[in-house]
Symmetry: C2
Subunit: 190 residues, 2 copies
DNA sequence: CCCAGCTTTCAAAATGTTCTGAAACCTCTA
DNA sequence: TAGAGGTTTCAGAACATTTTGAAAGCTGGG
C-alpha cells in the first residue's frame, strides 16, 4: 500500500499558487482584472498582512500595478491597510469572512452597475409614456399600439432588474449572521 | 402651460436606440461583449424577428460580427432562429419572457464559470488534506498549524461558492411561474 | 530644511479583445 | 450541375485594457 506523503512546505506553497490562479481566472470572467483578483486571492489565502514588495515578488508584477490594484481592492472594501509597529512599510490584508466579502462586492456592484442601468431604463420608459388620455382609450392607431407593446417589454425588464436590485439590497443590508441563514433558507424554497 | 407632445415614430425609434445603448453598456460590465448585448437588446425591444441585414443596418456592424454574435446568443439560449415562409433569409428573435431569459443566463454562467471554479477549489483542498492521523491529534508542529489554517480558509470559500451554486441550480430548476414568486418571497426574508 | 525610504501617478508599451471584409462555403432551384 | 442568394469563417486591423518603469510626491527623523 502506498504511504501517504506528509504535507510539506512546498505543497502548501503550491496549493496557494493554484488557488491564486483559480481565483484570478474567475475574477477575469466576472469583469475584475486578473491581477486584482490574484492579489486578493494571495492576501486571502495567506491570512496575514503582506506589504507591497512581498506581493510584487510573489506574483511577479510591477510596483505600479500592485499599487493601483491594491487601491482598487480597497475601494471595493475587501482589502484594508494595516500599519505594523516599527515598520514604515504599508501592509495589506483581505477581509477574512467570505460572506462579508460577498456582501461588500454585491453592494459595490449594485451601486456601480445596477443602479445606473435602472436609472436609464426609467428614463427611457418615461420618454415614451403615452399621455394619459391616449393610454386610457384603447387606441386604434397602429403606432400607439406599437408604443404600448414597446412599453410593456420595457416594463417587464424594469421589473426584473428592480427585483434583483431589491433582493441585493436586502442581502447587503442584512447583518453578517443572518445573511448566510437567509441564503440557506432560500435554497430550500421550492 | 406647455402642451404634451404626442408620441411619434422617431420618438419610439429613439427610445429603442437608447435602450440598446444602455443594455450594451450593462452587458460589457458583466463580461458580455457590447455588440452581443446590443443585438440582444434590439431583438428584445423590437419584439419581432429580424434578419441579419436588418440587424447590421440598425447597429452599423459588419456581417461577420453579426453572424458570430448571433451564434453566441443562440448558444446562450436567449435568441433563436426563425424561418419565414417564402423568405430565404434567416430571422432571429429574442426570448421575450425576462424571467426565463435570466434563468437561461444563470444556467449558462453556472455551467461555464461556477462549476469549473468549484472543481478547482475541491481539487486544491484535496491536495493539502492532512492525513487523518495528523488531523485528529492537535498538532504541535507550526507547519501543520499553518496547513490547518489554510484549509480552514479554503473551506470557508468553498462553502460560499457551493451555496451560491445550489441557490443558482434551484433558481434555474424551478419552473417559469414559481420562479418569480420565489424571488419575491426571498425579498421578504429578513 | 533635507534626506531616506516608501508610495503614487501616468505616459507609453505590451497584451488582449472585438470587429471587419473578403473569401469559402452551403443549399436551394432551374 | 451551375449559379444565385444567403451564411460562416478567419486573418489581420482597430480598439480597449492592463502593465510597466521611471519620475514625482509624501512623510517622519535627524
Amino acid at each position: 500500500m502506498a504511504r501517504r506523503r506528509a504535507i510539506s512546505l512546498p505543497a502548501l506553497d503550491d496549493a496557494q499558487t493554484r488557488f491564486i490562479a483559480a481565483w484570478g481566472q474567475m475574477g477575469s470572467t466576472w469583469g475584475i482584472s486578473r491581477t486584482m483578483a490574484e492579489i486578493h486571492a494571495l492576501l486571502f489565502i495567506s491570512g496575514s498582512p503582506l506589504n507591497t514588495d512581498q506581493i510584487m515578488q510573489r506574483l511577479s508584477i510591477s510596483r505600479g500595478n500592485a499599487s493601483m490594484s491594491l487601491r482598487a481592492l480597497q475601494e471595493w472594501g475587501i482589502v484594508s491597510r494595516v500599519h505594523k509597529r516599527g515598520d514604515r512599510k504599508e501592509y495589506f490584508e483581505a477581509e477574512q469572512d467570505a460572506w462579508s466579502m460577498l456582501r461588500k462586492v454585491i453592494r459595490e456592484r449594485l451601486r456601480r452597475e445596477v443602479h445606473p442601468v435602472l436609472a436609464s431604463l426609467f428614463d427611457i420608459r418615461d420618454s415614451t409614456q403615452l399621455p394619459a388620455s391616449e393610454a386610457r382609450a384603447p387606441s386604434s392607431s397602429p403606432l400607439a399600439a406599437a408604443v404600448a407593446e414597446h412599453n410593456r417589454r420595457l416594463d417587464s425588464l424594469l421589473e426584473l432588474v428592480q427585483t434583483i436590485d431589491r433582493l441585493g439590497e436586502r442581502f447587503v443590508g442584512s447583518d453578517g449572521k443572518g445573511l448566510r441563514a437567509a441564503a440557506m433558507l432560500l435554497s430550500k424554497v421550492s
